[in-house]
Symmetry: C5
Subunit: 373 residues, 5 copies
């Protein structure tokens, strides 16, 4: 496995700096103050309104916010307002006024550091927020997008951070394509369909991570791993930790939706939400398994290091144990004493060579017996 | 212990790649869309229908799906439809129509990545899914087969992935052999009998894993372990992790069956389900114990490495400590100074040899005292 | 500490093989089929019946099973049937018929791998099973004996695996000795008394393990530990893991007995069961503490190894650092160049000897400063 | 990353000594005895009273305690008494008398070691205490300030340890600046606003810690880490442990406030408290993630050490393996035997030089093959 | 830090042997049999009775047990009987008879291994038992004293193991000193006051442990730690484990007292018990934090060892890498070949010396570059 880190390294650390930030909200600011917390953005907010029922649908790009207001409770048309961009306080505030939303809710819409949660306000609307996750293969890091939903009796407002691609396009396509399930059902089913899309993406991220993990597993088990491998393993574990932090509250959120029996959620939507809940649990189980596997791999790697060290040390010891005695023997006969009888025998030199050969062979046999090589 | 990895290695990694996959469902597809997620299969689905009561039984291989429909509620005959193959959406969909099953249920039947769960639909039928597990000794890996059951008032539909052998044969044999317990009881007891079969296989897998673990234990405690052993230990822990992930939800599923008091489960079946629940808990306890033992073995192995290193280093140090001074001494008398009085004494050479012998003995005594050998 | 492993080693591994086995029940056998799972036994089942009330008692060794049947509900005599041996399906089945016991209950009586549990059948009798534990000092392993109890209105049946000694003798002695608490109370108190005996044995096992742990602690802290010590530590942890697996469900079982308020348990027995529950909790707490201590000891041992390695390496380095320069210097004056002025000075030899002495002293001072010895 | 530890070291340990202290209360003193537990302080307690409603506000520095008493229940003016300094028992006792507070409450106000909690006294007032946290960059340690609140029907008393800066200034500014949310709401909202301020500071501390963690991550991944780095990592983990200990009870405290539905908390304040609760949960999640990341970094660091050791050992072994044989060969021809035919050949010297060159090249090829360099 | 272990070592291990003992009760003894489990004692039990109400008090040393009996329920005088010594079964049994106490309660009073618990007997009296803890600085170990209380309508019996000092003296002093809170309240407040005394001592023990931990922290961070330090760290962790085991059930016990609303506990005492509960939770939190810190310290220590080893190895490698080539070179010119042209050049010797100097400098530069020193 060859993982490139070079040129991406610098950018990675810049990005991580952002990830670890929690809040840039001025300490002491009044609660409910709208401040955008996230990347700097120069796009303008795009708002699209889709009205549909089983019979028909209309799509409209909204220019003047005044024309976008809370529909009449009696209407049987589902009104989906998709707000693409959460960085303009004035826009968010205006929408909040027209739909009579709580100020804390608006603060949570704009705070891209807000963790996933669901909250019902007086039974008249329900607020849900969660994270879309992407895996960036280059830097091996997760990117997250803050999504919020306001579900009313016959409307749904979805907020997403401005990105190049519109995340919700597949659902819109389904609405346009046919008078299918989405068209027959209310805004609660639409909310489910959008959240299902997000959770499907979690599986894609898991597949990406699993692929990396397999690569590392191959690399470590075939003993081709170096210090880099460990850095990748650490990065993987870190991303799993961060992913868990993002997905865990989604489980809690869905479990509350299922338990609290809000009037805004129709009974026919409940099986779908239960299915979604099961998927999220499955994502969490996989994250935990992967973390365990990564820890296991680390152990394998560390013991590989120890084994390798053992083998290096044995090589050194074998060389020393063979050549130190030999060097000593030849040193003895390099001494300049006048009276050294052996030096003057005819075959002294050859006897010494023979003794040394025997010694070497004995040493080799000894280390073989101890299974050093 | 000798574990062969060679030729199986390649296939193993290919298979694992499949195991870590979560979902191939196209992101954004409408919920309830039927897509088979699993190995590619070219068999055709086989369907077999067994009708039985205490008095009689019939077995029929079904060719035309139209002839297989939901039995009349008043009938006292138990109708067991066994579907062998879950890869043909058209077949699954047709069965769904004839038995009026929810579309999410059908999606779960075909999604071989679906985790075990139980769900009741309006009190009219109950859906349960779990995994059959096999241990493949060659690759030391688990293989899983996705099983689903739909339990109605007087019918049971079982779905299994297409394999060479029919998993449920023993139960069919019992039905055919005698008017025993299965024949006297309803489809809920049949469901129990089939799930009991699956859980019995879990014990077989545990026995296989325990055998491997014992092998590794022997190998490590007798200090015959190498890097390979650790790889096997890691593989074992990984399979235990994956097995836990597959079995844990079964516990939850049975506990829900016991608590929710569905009308589809007769009171006489409850003690059997409680017994099954106890068995699953026992499987989970064993998995946890084995994981702990495996971790303990790793510690033993790592300390063996350290001990071995210590012993290698001692050998090296003893050689160095004995021969370095000796080599130095002979070096001294190899110097070519004109004025070296010792060189010209009669017994100089023999005195030096004696001194070196004494030095060697002292060194050996010293290292003996420090218990280095 | 000197722990002998030699001759017992072989037997140990044979036995462990048995311990890890989960079930030999043929996969696919009908639930409720009676198959003995345990060691092979050639004894015959011994059955003893003790009838007692406050006034009198009788003890009878039963030969013909027909004479042993469920006593009349109205009788005020407590009938205790002790079955010594659970390996003969025909015997167990016959008892089951005469006392009208559920087939799953009989299966659990014979399955020595069954985990501890309690179950009430229709309020007419209560089934409890748990493990007796022994510590075998020779092999440092736990041995377990499968015990089961059936508690009726005025009878108790106890089943135990065949062993040389009768486990329940002390309770029988108390019954015979005096008209004490056991004689005044019902079969529920007798059940308590028997289970109390088992839990008392758990404390004995804990004391044995604690003694071993103290031995290892002394051994490791006084740095007299070798690879053997670690193997013993691992064995100890393994036995603690297995003991926990055997004791944990006993806690659950007693807690259920206390909560469910069965009519078979008289209110006066409740404080005794609560006391027993507290003892089991104490056993579990001790097991957890010991496991933690064992893990702590492992850390101490591993760091001892590192320390020892450090000290070996320092010795080697000191020798090398002193003798390598000296050997180099004497090598210089062993060269055969024609023009080496120092060689021909009068005191050259002695100057070189002096320089080398000074160098050695400097080296020693340097390593002293760095606290290497 | 460069972290200075030098001169601050000494002060740090002195301070830590204080941190680990639990109670200086004389053992055996009567419960409810007022003793200040904290740093020695020579300031005098400052008390400020702010009375406000939507229409107006007054701020008064209180000199005589007698003038500060519990307001009439019927009054619609919110009375906020801020006590700056908790080290004078006489002052605290007097306030307790005038507001009829429980003696245990006063003990908790003065005990700066008291952990966060909330308690309601007879529905007439509510006591809450928590910790303000600061991160001191110089010593890389947390500093905590003990805060307590007494919430009555229309008054709030806040107690803070004496510090140079007044922590609650931003809230006072908001009250003075405009007739905003705080002015329109009751003392319960004021309590929320003050606690929100504290929790906002937790995020600041988290950002500081995250910055340090990023520094250490860079340092360790780029393999520039030394023993110092590990000490910093340890300090960071320790501060995270201590922070968790301070924040965890705040979660419990807010959850109790939300569940118990005290009459002192108006329903309109509940959404704000729920929001605060979510923030605290987010703080705790981040602490846990950081602790995990720190542990992961430690593993990376330790494996870096092992890798480095491997590389050092390889260098040593390569040198030894090349030069030991060569030194032996030249030693052979340094022997002084009379009969050594090679010495007298013309090209003997050059042949030996050639042989040694070839040997060296072979060795280098061998180690290259084994990928040692 | 200098911790003395020498002469105390032997005693320590003897004592520990006692600590790990669980029960000396003869296995099979009848439940409720009174056997003292603890240190051998030759003192006689001392019994003191203090009768008090708000107006007056009397203290009496009781010689004849007959004179000490359960007071009349209607009496408004609180009667506190303090039993100093729990090793004489006859005494404990007699008290049990006179106060009509359950036999299991008496067994728990005498069993100094009994874990803390609370139990109410028929609403007529309440039994509580917990451990007093002392830290013995010499051996760095915890010593525990078994305390039990029986709380009736207007009496309290306290049992303590015989020690030199009377633990409850401060409370007696308060009763004698003034008609304070204790005198105005019932025996439940007295029970609270005595338990508060015990919990205050827990904080003292924690402070002692914290001091030791700080010492070890200084020692390890300043890299002055040796194998001894680790042994101390292990001992500290062991004592924390044992302390947790002793304190954890106290939390449970107080929580039950608060939840069960016994009639024996007056409502005015509840806030005090809640306060006590909070203190115990704080003790447990501190124990957990300290255990974590101790684990963190171990990691720092182990990495210090690795670092030190790295540095030792580098020294060795540098010496070898410099002197091995030099020794080889001088060896070359020590060979005795007839035809070695360099030997006969005028400046050969000096050129070789120069070459060796250059080589040495290059080596040093190389290792500097690799930052080896």
């Amino acid at each position: 496995m060859k993982v490139n880190t070079g040129s991406h390294g610098a950018r990675r650390y810049v990005m991580r700096r952002r990830r670890y930030k929690h809040s840039e909200k001025k300490v002491g600011a009044s609660p409910g103050t709208l401040i955008y917390v996230g990347q700097e953005i120069d796009y303008k907010t795009k708002i699209r309104r889709i009205d549909y029922n089983e019979a028909a649908y209309t799509v409209e790009n909204i220019k003047r916010l005044a024309s976008c207001s809370r529909p009449d409770d009696a209407s049987d048309i589902v009104s989906w307002v998709n707000v693409d961009g959460i960085h303009e306080p004035s826009v968010i505030e205006r929408i909040g006024q027209q739909y009579q939303l709580h100020s804390l809710l608006l603060e949570d819409v704009m705070n891209s550091q807000q963790k996933p949660k669901v909250e019902e306000y007086d039974g008249s609307y329900l607020f849900a927020t969660l994270k879309m996750l992407y895996f960036k293969p280059a830097s091996e890091e997760l990117d997250s997008e803050h999504l919020s939903f306001v579900l009313g009796k016959n409307y749904l407002i979805s907020f997403q951070e401005e990105r190049k691609a519109d995340l919700f396009q597949p659902v819109l396509d389904r609405i346009q394509a046919s008078a299918g399930k989405t068209r027959r059902n209310g805004p609660d089913y639409l909310l489910y369909a959008l959240m299902d899309l997000v959770v499907d993406h979690y599986f894609v991220v898991l597949d990406n991570i699993a692929e990396k993990l397999e690569g590392l597993e191959d690399c470590i088990i075939q003993q081709a791993a170096g210090q880099d491998t460990l850095t990748h393993l650490y990065t993987l574990k870190r991303e799993l930790t961060l992913m868990r932090k993002a997905v865990w509250p989604v489980r809690e959120m869905l479990s509350r939706l299922l338990l609290e029996e809000s009037e805004l959620i129709r009974p026919t939507t409940i099986p779908f939400l239960r299915d979604l809940y099961d998927h999220v649990v499955q994502v969490l189980d996989s994250i935990d398994s992967y973390r365990e596997l990564a820890t296991g791999l680390l152990d394998v790697y560390l013991s590989t290091l120890s084994n390798r060290m053992n083998s290096v040390m044995k090589t050194l010891t074998i060389f020393s144990a063979i050549f130190m005695p030999l060097t000593f023997i030849v040193g003895v006969y390099g001494m300049n004493f006048d009276n050294m009888p052996e030096l003057h025998t005819r075959s002294g030199y050859f006897v010494v060579l023979g003794v040394m050969a025997v010694l070497t062979v004995l040493m080799i046999i000894y280390f073989r017996r101890r299974r050093w090589f």
